[in-house]
Symmetry: C2
Subunit: 153 residues, 2 copies
DNA sequence: GGATAATGCTTGCGAAAGACAAGTGAATAA
DNA sequence: TTATTCACTTGTCTTTCGCAAGCATTATCC
């Protein structure tokens, strides 16, 4: 493993969360899975933030070790792993939504994003249900993002 | 400055938030301010997670640069700076609450904490209003934490 | 009023983690 | 059966972190 990231060994609930996803990359991988339905190594590499390959491999291992994702082989292509969100991973949706809502207060938003934020604010439970339904259905990323209006542009 | 932490230079709202508080320490400092009402360098050093002095100095500078806190001199002790949350800093309360609620799902909680989480879930707006009121009143940390039942034990 | 202590940092250094480029091995495609 | 794709791993360099020590300013003690 590339790194082992020292844990805070703290009783605090905030610190416990940060032990698991409090670094520069883990939440971005989870964002790709939750918002965009990405499930493959190569898909995560396409993100505009350009995570390094070794760091991505490390974070995926860690996410699996923490039980936020499960790993399986793609039955149609045995080179390819498929990373699937567990309930524990999906339950981070509210954290990600609140980060988005916070940022939205201090950024210029285009129409699309304004609508998305409005929806996350007005009916978060509906959005979460949609995302859970998509996970259950194994829909492909492009369709998903478009259908759920989660794309940034 | 100790570090300058490379930014993601991303359009994404999640990435934008992480550019500001997506490291191992920033949110813990904000937790100390928001939950416990801490306002001085020395108080932050007392946290059980034991932040390094240079990292703390760096994060406080950064928080000020991002407009999440303001810095002033303590009128009663001119050695001491006072770090005060701005509205932008206080508006991170929902993010911190959601992290706590997420962790709470996967940790054993004592009675005190269970009550706190129940309250954060049932009436977050009331808790946020109390915290804002405390900020406005400049109450001291020990009193605050006790009165608002925010202490971990 | 001079020594001592408290406070809030800064500095220096070794260690850990990250960024980048290149390489590897298994599976698939041509 | 050769080439290519995919998912990593490895190696090297740079950045950040952790720790101990030092320093400047203000306050306190005698």
């Amino acid at each position: 493993m590339t790194g082992s990231i020292k844990k805070h060994a703290s009783q605090c609930l905030v610190a416990h969360g940060l032990d698991i996803f409090g670094d520069r990359w883990t939440l971005l991988v989870l964002r790709d899975m939750i918002l965009y339905g990405k499930r493959r190594y190569g898909e995560f590499l396409e993100a505009e933030e350009a995570i390094a390959t070794n760091v991505l491999a490390d974070r995926l291992k860690r996410l699996a070790a923490e039980g936020l994702v499960t790993v399986s082989k793609d039955p149609d292509n045995r080179r390819s792993n498929i990373y699937t969100l567990t309930d524990k991973g999906l339950s981070l949706m509210p954290v990600i939504f609140e980060i988005m809502k916070w940022s939205a207060q201090y950024c210029d938003l285009n129409e699309r994003r304004r609508k998305l934020i409005a929806r996350l604010t007005a009916e978060p439970d509906t959005v979460m249900a949609e995302i859970r339904a998509r996970e259950a259905a194994n829909e492909n990323p492009a369709e998903t993002a478009a259908r759920l209006h989660l794309l940034p542009r």
